[in-house]
Symmetry: C2
Subunit: 664 residues, 2 copies
């Protein structure tokens, strides 16, 4: 056995200085802080959720078709309250406020998630495509009716054979100059549209993504408005459809498949904001590079990713709230056995239980504030406050990264909270069944999380420069390989921040002290160092791979886990910065102290989770690494007295928590 | 930016020695190896699964009640094949072979898991309690009918207010000397029986766990046979029942709640193998200590845990098989974009995808062989081959630990494989919906995994000594605190093994070399060191806490995560040893080479996952730690060519893979 030190055990021995008394959380004020500028919008949605709370139970009792119809009806009713149309121009019955529409959508995630996703399909995907890719003609024709839910539509992008690789879609829209029509064709089953929301039952119209072909050849993927059902919901000629059937979750949304057998639509069906075809078949676009044109079109749809990320984070709030409330009601085990205490101990007083729940609670807050940042950026870009190409690319990158981390967090948190509620968590009445099943697909829709992180990495490695924004993955590999590693790294934002932080903390050695473990600058410096170091490593390995004569595809495959880790490190840094910035913006108060505590717990949990990497890269000594784990335990004990207040501040309508046996 | 070394990058640069060609896996021989001594039993179950494959679809299309009845009918039909009764004595229509019954149960996990769990409830829990806790009288009365499924029964242990803490159950069985009957009473709603399988619809009889009370007072928890429904399935007088309703999964099993309002059963209803009550109310037991008596009774039911662990591992096989087969059909992204290759690359050729799936595949094999060991031990103990109290305690500990790791592995693997199949993985037809939902509760049933690992730790810290086996958690804390740390540690099996391994590898320093990274002795020594070190740390901290005057409950709460980590380290060591032992038992062949490769991947993945700990405790240098991560990548690439063979060797009936779109 190795020799043992007799160092004090800060877990069992008293801490050097006794911790401050727990802050007295002002719950309504904390809710107001979380709700931010859209408190009224969020309250409207909360009221609607409470009004329609019966859908949570109906999701279990209705037949599949009845549940789908019920969800459709609810969506139309909610639309009448103005809740779902906030992002559309006022002249078409909308609210004219992008930020409000994101806030409304996020809050909807407290309730039945089929309702949420149906709203997303109808107003976000279908409505968003008409709004962003179409022009006045399309707006006038469709927006009024779709904002009310009178016209239901689909967003028909994904094909069975092409998930994340949208540029390779097989559906073709061939211009027939003789009739002035596009002919939409599904060449084979791999090109059938699949998993398309609203397609199995309710959609009358679909925005179909297809390769635009004229006499000159193919011009890449464009979007077309295609009627798929008549007023009586019978399929239009040439359109075949199939129900995707039961899914793991979200069964209130009717996903389906679509085939187009030479379906003819007028020339005006092309959503022509970025490209048009003249009557004589001449193709024209202000964006010459087809790759960049494609990414510009996709970029206008970034709101979907922002919304899904926010929904994941809010679904996680529901799970954490139930688990924390359960753990202060449930007693368990042992202390009563030999007269130590009259009663079994509360679950939440167990160190292990705190370890399971509180870092997730802290991360939920961190992601909430990170989401607030990206939602604001979205609002500003799409409201024209700040809209240049580089800002757009940064927004797209941040949206992709926040969506990935937010939805993974939802999956992990809901699972952990379900287990922390034991057998009771398994009953459908206690919400976890629906939460788990319905959120599961969040990690893969609106872009698979791994693919999204690759997008983030590409942005970082090319500095979001418009010259390189149109590179595909392998183009990116070649581009990075062509530059000096230093050039790649010096252009990244992490590098610039790291230089600044080095002035604050000269030399790295102070990081290895016991001191300063709760200093925010220390936490930030650690995450910035990691990000920059990983990016440099990726750049170097890509370069070496290409220089060594390997094919870009093989190089990319071998460096892929490193690429994704670097992107993740980048997003983790953004998340922590958002949390820190928020804490610093609050006036001195107990709420500020409560959030500062959570922020420390989040930061140290993130560092602890990757402490092997920090040791491997000379940024943590063994002693410091152990000290961080002890500090996480200590912070968990300090969070314990305020944990219930912290979940109450989410202001989840009690009807949404349901779980009578768990939360009382 | 930190200075960069120019060390070779073994990911991109050629490896020093080119790897050997991939082994030619002999799939049928590998299947035979996995099936082991019960190949015939497993084949019988496979044939039954294929025969009844329609239930996978019926699970989605039938109403709740019809699905439950369909599952009941299937269970009865399977019983007629002899498949479900293999563990019962031949004189009652059983097969008289415990090991065969475990093999049959595990294999059933390839199919619909409601069928599996219904079998577990009827034959494992209900039947097992009659067999193990009852005597001849009970066997004669019930076994014949329950083995055929003619008499359906429940195992009524868990109460709403008492999950893992069975000793604190509230249900009472009070002996009425005047009538010679026990009066079964549910004092309050916290004491209602809850989540009881078969209780909502099919059970006629329940084995009810209750505090046995005579004129002398309470004698602790005992089991009683209580009729709950008549032949027409109407509730018996005094028995109230309620349906638990829809659950997250396993909806083919009718879980329910039971209340007993002074239900009278004859004195003979007590399952009296370990204790009896005479007509005059005199209580007698060969085991004086009530705590030990209780644990002895529970110990006879250990087969349930062994079975659940095995089921989890086999459910994971289904998920891995689908994900691997999908990834060699699905092409994705990019290489076609600029003429590098005619086609998109196969998913399984991506480094990240290999990283996601192959360590899980390797761990599935490792756990399979660990499960084989514990199933054999169970067989030997319960067949009387080796049955002393310490062996029983070791078996219980190993069963608890394997169940915890096996079921956590199932949850994690199914989730990762679901995500690795993208949107398609979300469709119910592709199996993941059912796999996810149905296995989710495995982590909490037959004992919450965290509680089970605490049981493992207790066994280690008290060396399974019969004198201490009856200690509760806080008694364990006091006991450990009363001993010298060295005494605690020297008695553990890890310590003894470590001494032996130190002879093989004198000094620790060789472990820090680049050399020997693929040596099995090195892997084992690492895991043994970790286990012993963690156990010593726990013992020391418990001692210091008590010596410092803290209450045992508080000490335990603060050291709890360390206790659980130590137990996990112990089980990880057992799992690796099982895998290594199996590999060493095979004659030199390509199959041996394939398994050795997987075993290395498993071992290094386990070390890599906890490399921070190894660095913190002086067992890994930074260079070595990085080398391990590189080696894991390299091993993944070597597994790639044989991955399909490795999942084919599980011999999952193709009907069970279903997933037409994923596996073709």
């Amino acid at each position: 056995m190795a020799a043992e030190t007799s160092a004090p055990d800060p877990i069992l021995d008293p801490a050097p200085a006794s911790p401050p008394p727990p802050p007295e959380v002002d719950v309504p004020a904390l809710t107001a802080l979380l709700d931010g500028r859209y408190a009224d919008v969020r309250d409207l949605v909360r009221r609607n959720l409470a009004t329609y709370a019966s859908v949570l139970e109906e999701a279990e009792t209705l037949s599949l078709d009845d549940y789908r119809d019920r969800v459709r009806d609810l969506v139309v009713e909610m639309a009448a309250s103005g809740q779902t149309g906030m992002g559309f121009p006022e002249e078409y019955g909308g609210g004219g406020d992008i930020g409000a529409s994101v806030a409304a959508f996020e809050t909807l995630a407290y309730g039945d998630l089929s309702v949420l996703v149906k709203v997303g399909v109808q107003f976000g995907l279908f409505g968003g495509a008409i709004l962003q890719l179409g022009t006045r003609r399309h707006h006038d024709a469709y927006l009024h009716d779709l904002v009310t839910g009178r016209l239901m539509g689909s967003f028909a992008m994904t094909e069975t054979g092409h998930g994340s690789n949208v540029q390779a879609l097989g559906t073709a829209a061939t211009y027939d100059v003789a009739t002035g029509e596009f002919v939409i064709t599904t060449p084979d089953d791999a090109a059938r549209k699949d998993y398309i929301g609203n397609a199995a039952r309710h959609a009358q119209v679909a925005v179909v993504f297809a390769q635009l072909v004229t006499a000159d050849g193919s011009h890449g993927v464009h979007a077309f408005v295609v009627p798929i059902r008549d007023e009586g919901l019978a399929p239009m000629p040439g359109v075949r459809m199939e129900d995707d059937g039961l899914k793991l979750g979200l069964n209130g949304v009717d996903n389906g498949r679509l085939w187009f057998d030479g379906v003819r639509v007028p020339r005006e069906a092309l959503l022509d904001r970025f490209a048009s075809v003249a009557e004589d078949g001449t193709y024209a676009s202000a964006i010459d590079n087809p790759n960049r044109r494609f990414f510009t079109m996709l970029g206008t749809l970034v709101q979907g990713r922002v919304c899904v990320g926010g929904a994941g984070i809010n679904a996680a709030k529901v799970a954490v709230a139930i688990a924390v409330k359960y753990a202060v009601r449930r007693r368990q085990f042992e202390t009563g056995q030999e007269g130590d205490a009259a009663e079994e101990q509360l679950l939440l007083d167990y160190g292990m239980h705190q370890r399971r729940l509180f870092p997730l609670l802290a991360r939920t807050y961190a992601l909430h504030f990170a989401q607030e940042v990206v939602a604001l950026q979205l609002h500003e870009v799409f409201s024209g406050v700040a809209d240049d190409e580089k800002t757009r690319r940064e927004l797209e990158s941040r949206a992709a990264g926040t969506k990935a981390l937010g939805t993974w967090h939802a999956t992990r948190t809901i699972q952990e909270c379900r287990e922390a509620c034991g057998g009771a968590g398994y009953l459908a009445v206690n919400r976890f069944a629906a939460l788990k099943a319905d959120t599961d697909v969040f990690t893969t829709f609106e872009g698979d999380n791994h693919v999204l992180l690759q997008l983030v990495a590409k942005g970082l490695l090319t500095d979001y420069a418009s010259d390189f924004g149109d590179l595909d993955q392998l183009g990116m590999v070649r581009f990075v390989a062509s530059m000096a590693v230093e050039t790649v790294v010096e252009r990244t934002s992490a590098h610039k921040l790291l230089e600044r932080i080095k002035d604050v903390l000269p030399g790295g050695e102070r990081w290895d002290d016991e001191a300063g473990i709760l200093e925010t600058d220390y936490h930030l410096a650690m995450l910035r160092f990691r990000e920059e170091h990983m990016l440099a490593g990726v750049a170097r390995r890509l370069k070496r791979g290409i220089d060594g004569g390997r094919a870009p595809g093989e190089v990319f495959s071998r460096v892929q886990d490193h690429v994704i880790a670097a992107a993740r490190a980048h997003v983790e840094r953004l998340v922590l910065e958002a949390f820190v910035t928020k804490v610093n913006s609050i006036d001195d108060s107990d709420n500020r102290r409560a959030l500062a505590l959570l922020c420390d717990l989040h930061a140290l949990s993130v560092i602890e989770a990757d402490r092997a990497w920090f040791m491997e890269h000379g940024r943590l000594t063994v002693a410091r690494s152990k000290a961080i784990s002890r500090e996480v335990n200590r912070l968990c004990r300090r969070v314990r007295p305020i944990a219930v207040d912290l979940v109450d501040a989410f202001a989840i309508p009690p009807e949404m928590l349901r779980s009578p046996a768990l939360v009382g």
